[in-house]
Amino acid sequence: MSDDPGRRGFLGLAAAATAGLAGVVLAPGIRLVEVAQAATPADASIGANPKVRWGMLIDTTKCASGCTDCVDACQTENGLAKPTRSTDPQWIRKVEIKEIKTGRQASVPVMCQHCAEPPCVDVCPTGASFKRADGIVLVDRHSCIGCRYCMMACPYKARSFVHEPLTGQKPDVPRGKGCVESCTLCVHRLDAGQKTTACAEACTRAGHGAIVFGDLNDPASEISRRVREVRSTQLRADLRLDPGVRYAGL
């Protein structure tokens, strides 16, 4: 074959131009590359409301060691199996703590803290880990590639990875192998108009009243009143992640 710089040059130019154009637009309105952006719904009267910031106040003085009402409720609501191995997902767990210097003990439910500055959202390469307009931090399992970087980044060990194929999922809580997941603040209940999460409801129903759920941005809500009156802290407040979950009695 003869050395024909004219034809080669043309082919090279055509290839480069096509590649460049494809990176921008394949067809009207269809882009090859999407850049993850914070999503806001078209109509704020339904779905995630940006004026709301969902949060929780947990009074650990009302948490009994050995009580797992919140954990059980979460498992039932979300279709989670009782964990037996270290590969089983846990969206909420009871942590028994004992201060080393004072010996003071407490029993603390820990779940995704729904930070305002979530490190898991920062590190997710595809934008699957995201913060909704109303402050709930979620995993979009349609985009999650299962890289587990968010699990490395979370300071609260809030996230779990699904290590096995699943069956029998709840219709409101789709979850599956190869994706990362964590507490959703029962987002499916909130979107359906219910007022509280399964764990908070179970705790209240059992008469402990340790968990209060509500809108932190609404000064008239019960949670806002309580955090104004009672001293509460955030876990690892030094990291300045501004979690939506606050703890009293720690």
Binding site: P41, D140, H142, P165, T167, G168, Q169, K170, G176, K177
Partner: protein, 135 residues
């Protein structure tokens, strides 16, 4: 070209067979279309059949963003809605048996359906009456 004769012969054979095999695919009588169980509930689908056949994946793709990011549930194109109507009367699912709604068409078209690795295949009401799925 060295093998011009052979190549032309193969092309001629393909050209001869193609209209014949294409005509054979038209009639359902010959059993070459998927056997889909019709929906158990409801009178009609949210869109007409031809539109759905071509675009249901696009509707679902758009709806899932509205649901996950926007928190809008129970909309016209929600997957849960599809499952509610299209769950088989016998298996109660859209993806259990070969004749169930989603699997029937998808295995015919040889397109892997990824949804039910995560999404429930049975309507919520049916699951509530049974002893709840083992995750």
């Amino acid at each position: 070209m060295r093998h011009a004769g052979l190549i032309l012969a193969v092309l001629a054979l393909v050209a001869a067979v193609t209209p014949w095999s294409a005509s054979r695919a038209d009639t359902a009588k010959r059993g070459l279309l998927p056997a889909i169980e019709p929906a158990a509930k409801g009178e009609r689908c949210v869109e007409d059949t031809a539109t759905m056949r071509r675009n249901h994946m696009r509707f679902l793709e758009h709806q899932r963003d509205d649901t996950v990011h926007g928190g809008i549930r129970g909309a016209k194109h929600s997957l849960k809605g599809c499952v509610d109507c299209h769950a088989s009367k016998t298996t109660g699912s859209v993806a259990a048996a070969k004749t169930d709604f989603c699997v029937a068409c998808h295995s015919f078209a040889a397109v892997k359906v990824d949804c039910f690795g995560c999404h429930a295949t049975k309507p919520a009401a049916a699951l509530a009456t049974t002893s709840g799925g083992k995750p």
